[in-house]
Structure formats: C-alpha cells, structure tokens
C-alpha cells in the first residue's frame, strides 16, 4: 500500500497524465510543420482504432439498452407476444400507483442506511486494529479480506443454513442462553435485517482495506506532535485520525452506497423478496416484473427510474466532493 488515496482518481481523472503524443507539435516550441501535423492526425486515428472495440461494446450493451428500455417503458408488451402497443405513460402510472414499488423503494433505502454506516464503522475499527498488529498485519488483512472474495451465491447459501429456524447455528446458540430465536428469513420483522447482516459481513473486509490504505497515508508526525502535547489516544482518534481519513471515508461511503443499492443475489437466493415484500428492493422488483410477471413495459419504466436515481445520486456526490472534501 503506497499510501495512495483512491478518491484522487475520481477527482482528477481527465486532467492528469495528459499526454504528449499528439501534443508534441503544439508544445515543442517550434512551429508545427506539416509533417508533424500529419503524424498527429495519424496517431489520433490510432487512438480511435484502439478505443473502437470498447466503444462498440459499450454502445451495444450500455447505451442501446438504456435507449431501448426507455422506448419499451412506453409500450405494453408481455415478452412472448410480438405485438407491442403504445400506452403512453401508463407503465409509469402503474408503477407509481403500485404499493409494492413504494415498499421496495423504502426497503432499498433502509437496506442502504442499515448496512453502510455499520460496515464503515466496523471496517475502520478493524483497520486500526490490523495496523497495530505489527508483524501479523499482512496476515490479518489477508484473512479479513476473505469474505470479499467468496462468491455471493455461496455466501447466500451458507447464511440460509446458519439462519435456518430449527437447527440453524444462530438459533442453537441463542437457545443455549435461553432465547428462542426468530424464524429469521420468514419473519417480516427480521428478514430485511438478516439480509443487512450479510451485506455488512461481505462488505467489511473491502472497506477495511480502503481504510488501511488511508491510515498509511496519515503523516506519523501528527501523532508525535499530539503525543508531546499530551493528547490521549481517544483525542488523537477524533482530532487526527477521523479528519485525516475524511476523503477515504467519503470514497468508502459512495462505493458502499452504490454497492448496497445493487443488492440482488442474496435476496434472490434467500427470500425472493418475501415474506410479503418485506425484502423486496427496486432491483429485485424490476427482475420480478420482467422475468416472473413478463410485464416488460413496467419493468422498463422501473429500469428508467433506477437509472435516473443513480445518475442523480452521482451528480449530488460529485457536487459535494467539489465542495466539501479536502484532498491535501
């Protein structure tokens, strides 16, 4: 970890590393000769050639799907019938009039609010502990990162067994101390929380690694100076560690929000959005509308809504980065 600050890459993206190939004739200090200018054009053609495969694929599998689903959101179509009927805004009306959509939107928000702060706090705690571990630092980091690498499908399966109401490990442990555990995944009060716990579990190691990188970037002299002034460990944490980590925290915060916003696999494997939509989220509802109810129009309307929500969130974040986060 060379003390890199990941968020830098976002902030400085298009300006750093400006290159020289085409620009050499401009900055070379001499009048651009005809030949050099031609070479510039030639080299630029190479740039477009190199970009072509990526841009072509993005066009087919990113831009076009977006345009296509916007179009479908105005159509009534059940996937197996060739006839698409133009229905205006009916799909959007159906979506916004559907209590399941509002339930799913609320659940998505709850899931994000429930997982992001907890996983960040735990990750910071673990990062600080790991940094204090001396020779075993790397080893601990290696172990704590393992859940991130495990397939989310497998994770869902394992936790289904752990949560199982009768013989599952969690309820057996609770029984030992005299508590009768709930039916985690089938009780509307506990189902979403159960999924949040998994979300936190699989995100912590990842956030921890980002925090470890951030901690390494803090100038040790700050702590030495605080030590001389007689600041306690707790004061040092609040007055040095937390403010110094604020860019990293901001980065972790955004990444965590986008990742938890996308939760799908654990829901599909463990609860299918149930019981009674207690774990339905917007991405899952979109899946249900398209692939279970074959209501492509409504699913596409939801796709468009999610897309807009993500873009809006991104714009808000970019603006607040420019305003609030100090990089140096």
């Amino acid at each position: 970890m060379n003390g890199m600050k990941p968020q830098k890459s976002f902030a400085h993206v298009p300006t750093d590393g400006a290159n020289t190939a085409g620009g050499s004739s401009v900055f070379g200090g001499q009048a651009p000769s005809h030949k050099k200018w031609l070479t510039g054009i030639k080299e630029n053609i190479w740039a477009y050639v190199f970009l072509a495969p990526a841009l072509l694929l993005f066009g087919i599998f990113f831009v076009y799907p977006f345009v296509y689903s916007s179009y479908l959101s105005f159509m009534d179509w059940n996937l197996y019938n060739d006839a698409k009927e133009f229905v205006g805004l009916a799909n959007y009306q159906a979506l916004f009039g559907d209590p399941v959509f509002w339930k799913a939107a609320l659940n998505t928000g709850l899931y994000v609010i429930g997982t992001v702060p907890v996983s960040m706090i735990l990750a910071l705690g673990l990062a600080i502990l790991v940094e204090k571990a001396g020779k075993l630092k790397e080893f601990y980091r290696f172990l704590l990162f393992i859940p991130v690498v495990a397939s989310i499908a497998v994770v869902g399966i394992i936790w289904s067994l752990l949560y199982s109401p009768a013989g599952g490990f969690i309820n057996q442990m609770l029984a030992l101390i005299g508590i009768q555990g709930p039916n985690w995944l089938n009780d509307p009060k506990f189902a979403l929380v159960s999924l949040m716990i998994i979300g936190i579990w699989s995100a912590v190691g990842y956030n921890m690694v980002l925090y470890i990188a951030g901690l390494k970037g803090i100038d040790p002299q700050l702590y030495e100076a605080a030590e001389l002034d007689g600041a306690s460990g707790w004061q040092q944490f609040w007055k040095i560690t937390v403010p110094q980590l604020s860019p990293v925290s901001f980065f972790v915060f955004i990444i965590s929000i986008f990742n938890s916003f996308q939760v799908f696999s654990t829901i599909h494997i463990m609860t299918q959005g149930g019981p009674n939509n207690a774990t339905n989220v917007v991405i899952y509802q979109m899946y249900q509308e398209a692939f279970q109810f074959f209501n492509i129009g409504k699913a596409s309307a939801l796709t468009f809504v999610i897309f807009c929500a993500v873009l809006l969130l991104t714009v808000v974040f970019i603006r607040s980065t420019q305003r609030n986060v100090h990089y140096e």
Binding site: S24, F62, P65, F66, A153, A166, Q262
Partner: protein, 274 residues
C-alpha cells in the same frame, strides 16, 4: 517488569484479533465443516467439536450431478471473459493514457458513468438483446455483454499513467509507432499490474451470479454459482452435498487469492468497485 506487561498486552491483543477473525470467517469454516461431516450430523453446534470425517458428500455430488461439467463451464466462461476484458481494456486504456485526441475527456467520463450505473439495472434490455441474437443458453450470452469493462479500463489507465514518459519519448525519437510502444514499453512495465487486474476480473467473473442465472437455464450449460442455488430449491435441502459444492465453488478463487494476495488487495482498493 516492563517487558512482561508488554508481552501480556500483546498476547491479549492477538487473542482478541484471533477471536474476531474466527467470528468473521465462521460462516466459511462452517461450510467446510458441514461438507466433511456424515449426513446425520449436519445440524447442531456439536458439529464444531465432532471428529468424524467423511467425504461422502463430495462423492455423492460427483456421482449424481454434472459437477465436472459445471466446473469446466465456469472455468471456460471466466477465462474467456477475463482474457477479453483485459485485452479490450489494454487497448482502450492505452488510447486514454498515451494519446491526446479530441473527445478524450468526454469519452473517459463516459467510461466512468458505465462504472457507476449498476449493470443489474440494465438486465431487462440486455436480456432482450441477447435473446434477439439467439444467444440464450450459450456462453456468448454471458461473455460478450461484459467484455467492455469500465472498471478494467479505469484501472489499466491508472497503471499506464505511471509509465515513465522518458521511455516513450525515447522510443518515439527512434521512430517507434504506437503499437510498438504499447508492446515494447507499456506492456512489459505493466505486467504485475495486468496480472493483478486479471486475477481480480477472473474472481469477479467466476463469482458472477445474477447474469448467468438469467441467460443459462439449461442444466448442462450452468456455472457453479448458479448451479449451487438449485440445491436449495428442492424442498428438503441436503446440506452436506450442497456445502460440498459450495466449498468447491469457493476453493479455486481462494487458491488464486492466496498466491496473489498482495497485488490483489492493493489493486482492489485502487479501483473502488467490486
């Protein structure tokens, strides 16, 4: 006097860390334990202390299910996917880092947008496109839509920006074209980075769930993460064999992670995306 206190403190600290790590890794340990116990001992805390050992579950899945086919499918799909993603990313990132051409910044912003928008959000139209092309139940359906990876392009560009400019300038003086500069300077310098990126992409592709779930429905075409969920959809779940498949799904990734851990963790943290 000071030395022993310090040692006790350290001992306490490391036992605490050991406890925390054990708690966090517990679900994965449980998976392995369930997979190597006799069928009648799957439930219960006694499992933890039980000494009985049986590979019955593994034998059972290998005999009753096309496990070899699933493993092969997963390997083929993720290797092809990774190779394609890395190649496309190398060319795109080279264009972004070596050239200065009209539209570069706009196009790069566009790549960033593709990273931010969750692909899950586009699953419906993408499914319809793949269906139109007649790719359902073929590996092309899994591989092609993910070949252009904004994440891979972004990371590769970060690596390429670190290539010393003196090197490229010297090569240009000698009359090297862009292709030769890419091959003789950028690629050799970036080999560790490319290895790390490939490993991360491979793991992500190997673990991919929601997309193969939609486009590969034929049992013989399935990949492990999707195949394993079919075990729990059968009413009464046979946990031993299920966890055997789970263990086999995670194992290759863990081996890779073990050998490339350092690069792996660092590159992961540079990117911001899983």
């Amino acid at each position: 006097m000071a030395v022993p206190t310090k040692k006790i403190k350290a001992g306490f600290f490391h036992s605490f860390m050991f406890g925390v790590i054990l708690a966090i890794l517990f679900p994965l340990l449980w998976m392995v334990l369930v997979s190597i116990r006799p069928a009648d001992q799957v439930f219960g805390a006694s499992l933890f202390f039980s000494t009985s050992f049986s590979l019955e579950s593994y034998k059972q899945v290998f005999e009753q299910r096309p496990l070899g086919v699933w493993m092969m499918n997963t390997a083929v799909v993720s290797i092809l996917q990774t190779a394609g993603q890395v190649m496309i990313a190398i060319f795109a990132a080279f264009a972004f880092s070596y050239f200065r051409f009209p539209g570069r910044d706009v196009l790069f912003y566009f790549v960033l947008v593709t990273m931010i928008v969750p692909l899950q959000a586009l699953m419906v139209p993408t499914y319809l496109i793949v269906d139109t092309m007649g790719w359902l139940n073929s590996f092309a359906a899994v591989i092609v839509p993910t070949l252009a990876s904004g994440y891979a392009i972004f990371l590769m560009r970060q690596f390429f920006l670190q290539v010393p400019k003196e090197l490229t300038e010297a090569a240009k003086m000698d009359g090297c074209g862009p292709l030769r500069i890419l091959r003789n300077i950028y690629l050799p310098v970036s080999i560790p980075a490319i290895t790390a990126l490939s490993a991360i992409l491979f793991v992500t592709n190997w673990n991919e769930y929601y997309w193969p779930l939609l486009v590969l429905t034929d049992e013989m075409k399935q990949v492990l993460p999707v195949a394993i969920t079919s075990f729990t959809n059968e009413g009464i779940v046979d946990w031993g064999p299920t966890m055997a498949v789970a263990t086999l799904t995670v194992l290759p990734v863990m081996v890779l992670y073990f050998f490339l851990q350092k690069n792996f963790v660092e590159s992961f943290s540079q990117s911001g995306l899983k």
